[in-house]
Amino acid sequence: MSQIHTPVTLADRGEAQAAVRARPAYAWWADALAMAAFVAAAAGIVIAASHWTAPLTPATSISLSPSALPLYAGLSTLRMALAYLLALLFSLVYARLATVSRRAERAMIPVLDILQSIPILSFLPGVVLALVALFPHSNIGVELAAILLIFTSQAWNMTFSFHQSLVTIPRELQEAAAIYRLNPWQRFTRLELPFGMLPLIWNSMMSWAGGWFFLMAAEQFTLGPRSFQLPGLGSYLQTAANAGNGGALALGLFTLIAVIILLDQLLWRPLLAWADHFKVEQTGAAQPRSSAVLRTLRRSRALAWLTERVFDPVGEWLDHQSVRALTLRPAQPQSHAVERLTARRLALGVAGLALLALIGWGVVAGGALLAQVSPQDWASVVIATLATLARTTLALLIAVAWTVPVGVAIGLNPRLARAAQPLAQLAASIPATALFPVLLLVLIGLPGGLNIAAIALMLLGTQWYVLFNVIAGAMAIPSDLLEAAQIYHLSGWNRWRRLILPAIFPSLVTGMITATGGAWNASIIAEYVSFDNQTFSTVGLGAVIAQAAYHNEFALLLAATLAMALTVVAINRLVWRRLYRLAEQRFRLE
């Protein structure tokens, strides 16, 4: 979704200018709001902590009463936030390390590619069993497991995005940092992080959407005889669906949407508005984003005081320490430098060997595990892969079939775009999994049952990526090309074939790449469902993985996970990368 650009209205612009004029005036209510938010956050963390340190309660009974909803919403949001912080830290560190040397990059980026293609549930048994064993007497283990599961749905795209930013920093900006001798810390805070900030924020928003999507799977899981349930919105929805309680289901959905909208208004919009000055284009033409919340915060006297007395001095202190530790090291004689270099080589070599040993052990252990998989199981994995491939392809085709005409219509008509885009964004922000129980209620009775429902879920989860990209692509068609088409009476099919399809092709491909990834991941949740105390499943790789995870069949889980990772990576390499290159070379609008 990082390609989406919401047009800013004239009213927004006026507001922004008003904000500039009003900036020095402080407002007491801004302070009050900031304080209230701070108190609320602190209270939430204390409540959550008291729950975590409580003795292990594997299956909390989930209350379906509306009064429980705020607490559940808070707990889920906190879980998401912690997972997100972890993912953020991971992406910054991993991407930075990957750019340290060419060799590191060559190893680390393909690993990320593979990690990305492993579905969330394949991580489940390992993560849960290890963490519960680590904290046998408190809830922390299960909580951490849920957080780690959410983490696996958030981390990869952010890492890719930050790495992409790091390798595209213009050479002269790098040289300026070098010639003025910035140390690694200063370089990171002054150059690398600011440069990657905007894409990082866009991808953070995508990661949160991904996290909500898998919230239900992360808050409630069964491993063989043991089942775990954590208090939260995801388990609330699941319980409501199981109990067939339509009212509670609707209420839960409503709460979820409210949380998502609140976060959008209170967090993402202010962040985007704030990040506007990290834009690298040096022109002043772009219209500034604006956010009422950000404006309010900027008028808060308490925050101004905090910035001046706490944040700035802390930043200054960190800078100073980094200079003392990294820059002003006394120059060493050459022999010492050589010794240091050899020591570093040695350390790197040992680390490399350890890594190799670990990989070797993993391959051997994995091979031993795979040897246990019976030929029948292998056959079923292959059939399941083909079935899921057919399903994802179908979902993608349906998505393209409706989003291309609709998206182009919206993109080419500014008035329609203004009306439709907020609606579409709202619709997209609702995690499809939350709607799934409702969908199932309708579809499960029909012939085709779960088969159709699974495709519908994949569609619900992924069509938005295509739609938004098509809209963005259509909006970006230069008006002189459209006018030329008009002048030469290009219409109907010819207009589509000669102008619109080639022009939106790059955005369409980008959208489809994201959508297929999402569809494969969704298959896990879509093809195997516990609902109303029954289990429904259909032939598919997602069903195999989910089943194997629930029944602790590690050999089959590994086989099916490998099959999925291989298929996804192969499709990426063979289909998408080529299409992407074609789009870059042939259909780029300059």
Partner: protein
């Protein structure tokens, strides 16, 4: 390649050497090349002395920007060494600040923060940092813009910020990397004067300046010493003394003469420099290096070339290169390739800093669209070996189709891979115009169209 460097610069032994390159070479590994590497800089020795303003001039690809980065410690030389006060340099040069062509300002920092940036790594405490930055901002005339972001500034203002950021660290040597080439003509002129004044009036603690530029006029108006580079591989061809201060600004006879001399050196890349100095008449162009080697095609498109020849026709078939550059408002770097292309195609002769249309050139200048193509085709097949070669391969090939890879492979015997690609792109442009062949960009294949006119033998 051993070639004598002509020098008439003052012997500078009495002044101390701030920074020096000693026998510096730079090459990039390249397996596709016959020698396994591409030489960018060939055995450069250059001293930057206290009190000196040195300008580096030369065609693109002569490695002058690479040399600047090697002296700054941003790139390590492949052989030879850089010395700072006669001590070998390791890592980034602590005595150097750079003003960049694209400004290299950080868009998320204000003017003040961008200027303070230079002091960050030195661990200067915030109040001192702030005061020094404000003082430097005043010095470059940016007073009042402290809290502005770079995107709110015009190009000239941005470059002032770049200058302030460099000056605030009080560098011993200040490097200017084509500092004015991204600016409008008038803004560049203004900033040139101001930097010149700051330097001459000793308002800076900087002891030496090094500027890379494409603009000969600019170099002559500013520098104490002008060093002219040659390309393929990059080497110093001439080390010339600049004009006395009084004559730099007025653009009188001495100024024009020095500009002319440098043009002459740059337009005769094969010639011995001593023969090109004023008072010595240039000899006929030396023999081409080898008959079967490709010439280096100047990267100009047909439209520019046609415009160039037509303008020359209007000016009476003969013009001084320096005057022509003024007339067309082009830098040396843009004008020289045009003159070279016209020369290569037999449209013009270049001699003693003048360019003269040949009879063919005059015909070409006056012809209509279709006749122009006809003349161009004759000249191209006659004079451009690469085009002749592609055409010969096409005639010999089954179905008259030739993959570009073969052509690139031959080109890479003489050029680096990226340059080979550029050579090929220029040849494609020229060949298409001459209707010598057609080219399929998707497949990377040359072919002869069925209804193409018979190729001139």
């Amino acid at each position: 390649m051993t070639q004598m460097t002509y020098t008439n610069a003052l012997p500078g032994a009495q002044r101390d050497v701030v920074l020096a390159a000693r026998n510096v070479s730079k090459f990039y590994e390249d397996a596709g090349n016959a020698e396994g590497r591409i030489l960018v800089l060939d055995d450069i020795t250059l001293e930057l002395r206290a009190g000196e303003f040195v300008a580096l001039l030369g065609p693109s690809g002569s490695g002058k920007s690479t040399l600047l980065r090697i002296l700054a410690g941003l790139i390590a030389p492949s052989s030879g060494q850089v010395t700072l006060h006669e001590q070998p340099l390791q890592g980034v040069n602590p005595a150097v600040a750079i003003v960049f062509q694209t400004f290299a300002l950080y868009p998320w920092l204000t003017v003040l923060e961008n200027v303070e940036f230079g002091l960050l790594a030195k661990g200067v405490p915030a109040p001192t940092r702030h005061a020094r930055a404000v003082r430097t901002i005043d010095l470059v005339g940016l007073d009042g813009f402290e809290s502005a972001y770079p995107r709110e500034l015009s190009g000239g203002m941005k470059q002032r910020v770049g200058l302030a950021r460099a000056l605030v660290v009080e560098p011993e040597a200040l490097f200017l990397d084509e500092p004015f080439s991204a600016l409008d003509v008038l803004v560049a002129e203004n900033l040139r004067h101001e930097i010149g004044d700051l330097w001459r009036e000793r308002k800076l603690s900087t002891r030496a300046m090094l500027m890379v530029t494409h603009n000969i006029d600019e170099a002559v108006s500013m520098a104490d010493r002008l060093i002219v580079f040659g390309a393929n591989p990059g080497r110093i061809r001439a080390d010339l003394r600049g004009l006395p201060l009084a004559q730099r600004r007025d653009k009188g006879g001495a100024h024009a003469e020095l500009v002319d001399t440098i043009y002459r050196i740059m337009t005769n890349p094969q010639e011995d420099v001593a023969a090109l100095l004023p008072g010595v008449s240039a000899r006929a162009p030396g023999p081409a290096t080898s008959q079967d080697a490709y010439q280096s095609l100047p990267h100009v498109n047909i439209g520019e070339l046609t415009g160039f020849v037509e303008r020359l026709r209007e000016l009476g078939d003969r013009e001084d290169l320096y005057e022509l550059a003024r007339d067309l408002q082009l830098d040396a770097d843009d004008l020289l390739p045009l003159a070279e292309a016209a020369n290569l195609l037999g449209f013009a002769d270049i001699e003693a800093g003048d360019v003269t249309l040949t009879a063919t050139g005059r015909r070409f200048g006056e012809a209509d669209i279709l006749s122009k193509k006809e003349i161009f085709r004759q000249q191209a097949t006659g004079g451009v070996r690469l085009l002749r070669d592609i055409e010969r391969r096409l005639r010999a090939a089954p179905e008259h189709r030739v993959a570009e890879d073969d052509v690139i492979a031959s080109l890479e015997r003489a050029f680096s891979p990226p340059e080979s690609r550029r050579q090929l792109d220029t040849a494609i442009d020229w060949g298409r115009y001459a209707e010598l062949f057609a080219y399929d960009d998707d497949a990377g294949v040359f072919f002869i169209e069925e209804d193409a006119p018979a190729v001139a033998e």
